[in-house]
């Protein structure tokens, strides 16, 4: 990369609070080693290493004069990105739920998602997991709704003091809807509702509603 701004500041660490230890003058080149969050570790031609901010790296060009472009992690990235990770707190069938999810987007609207969670209830504890498809209706909106459908499992561990101590695992299917709201940088809030249908080996199948809200980020 070639510096086109009057100079490029190199910090001692990957953060704006770390002091500037070196500067690279205009027209000199730097080698990008790797990236951590919004900072690039670079090496100058004289072998000096330091961290350059994303904002400063936007002012560098490639050897053919074209601008150096990279994933910025901004609002455009919220509309269209590859991966998402997040954590939720909520309720599963009346019990407290903690869960985490990961998502892979095929395009800006359709994504494959997997969720793993634990619910902690009065009468039973358990693990819930599911995998399914999510369709974001209008991905370019800051607050954008989405629909979900998929299948999963629930592992139920009844509390030992009650009459039915045997643990059991059942298959589930769900439909759901939610909304995601862009906050800043790579972060967004996500709130969703899933209606689970539990296929049991007993006479009656079960149902459970899941409400949750959490923080997530994309990359």
């Amino acid at each position: 990369m070639f510096v086109t701004a009057p100079y490029l500041e190199l910090h001692t660490g990957a953060g704006r609070g770390y002091p500037v230890s070196n500067v690279v003058p205009r027209d000199e080149s730097v080698l990008v080693l790797f990236r951590r969050t919004d900072w690039f570790k670079v090496r100058t031609r004289r072998g000096v290493e330091g961290w350059a901010s994303q904002r400063d790296m936007l002012k560098t060009v490639l050897a053919d004069g074209s601008p150096f472009t990279f994933d910025l992690g901004d609002r455009a990235g919220f509309t269209s990105h590859r991966f998402e990770l997040g954590a939720f707190a909520g309720e599963w069938g009346g019990a407290t739920l903690i869960s985490a999810y990961g998502s892979f987007s095929f395009n800006s609207q359709l994504a494959l998602e997997g969720t793993l969670g634990q619910y902690l209830g009065k009468y039973s504890d358990g693990v819930v997991g599911d995998i399914g498809l999510t369709h974001v209706l209008v991905p370019e909106w800051r607050i954008s709704p989405f629909l979900m459908i998929g299948t999963g499992f629930v592992h139920i561990e009844p509390k030992a003091t009650l009459g039915e101590p045997a643990n059991r695992t059942e298959q589930t299917a769900y439909v759901g809807a939610g909304v995601r709201c862009y906050l800043t940088r790579r972060f967004f809030l996500r709130a969703e509702f899933k209606s689970h249908y539990i296929f049991t080996s007993r006479n009656q199948n079960g149902e459970a509603d899941e409400w949750k809200m959490g923080f997530a980020f994309f990359f």
């Binding site: 001692t12 660490g13 990957a14 953060g15 704006r16 609070g17 770390y18 002091p19 990008v32 080693l33 790797f34 990236r35 951590r36 969050t37 919004d38 900072w39 690039f40 570790k41 490639l62 050897a63 053919d64 074209s66 150096f68 990279f70 992690g73 990770l85 954590a87 707190a89 407290t96 903690i98 985490a100 634990q118 902690l120 504890d125 509390k159 030992a160 940088r185 790579r186 972060f187 923080f215 980020f217 990359f219």
Partner: protein, 239 residues
Amino acid sequence: MENGIRVLLLTVALAALSGCATVSNWFHHRQDARDEREQAREDAKRAESPDDDSAPRVIDPTVERRKIRVPKIRSSNVELGLDFGALSIEDFDTNPVYGATAAYHVTEDFFFQGEYGRSKGGRTSFETLGGSIQLLTPSERYFTYYDLSLGYNFLPGEAFLGHGIALSSAFYVLGGIGAVDFAGDKKFTVNFGAGYRVLPCDWLAVHITVQDRVFQSDLLGVTKLTNNIEMRVGTTVFF
């Protein structure tokens, strides 16, 4: 009746005629366009192969445009590590704890962290005084926790070792939710804490973290919020 048929036929004939005229015109236009294209192609060919009487080129531009391929820039945002420390389980003594952490640095300020740890509760004062009373079975004394936390880096700076070595460092605060499995029961926990991270090199970090896990317990007869403070030292590697 006859009149009507005639009018109809005439209309059809008129429509067909005008249609034919348009179509023939169309073909005419297409022919024109084709001729023009051919003419242009011939001109271009002539321009490409200069005749003998045209002036020779002084400079033959042989400069090739450089093709730049930008290699994929490696991201190093994931931090994985192991830690060891001491955990004070309320009413159950302070005991060694060992665990693992995984973090993803989203921005320079914020990171998400998952923690897992295991310890073993000691004897309560009630058990010690009561002689042979056992409140929990040995397997119920294991204290296993996991958390999902959000961390915020603040006070970034450098730690100096002697004259020549400066290591980048930061304080951070943590807060999140999780679950703990203790005394044969799983409980929802809320955690908060703070830590200090020093990076001896870009891929390695050493942490000292103090974290409190709060959960509701009714083990000793009364339902109360228990605070379980942990201090641990850990090493993590950035990927």
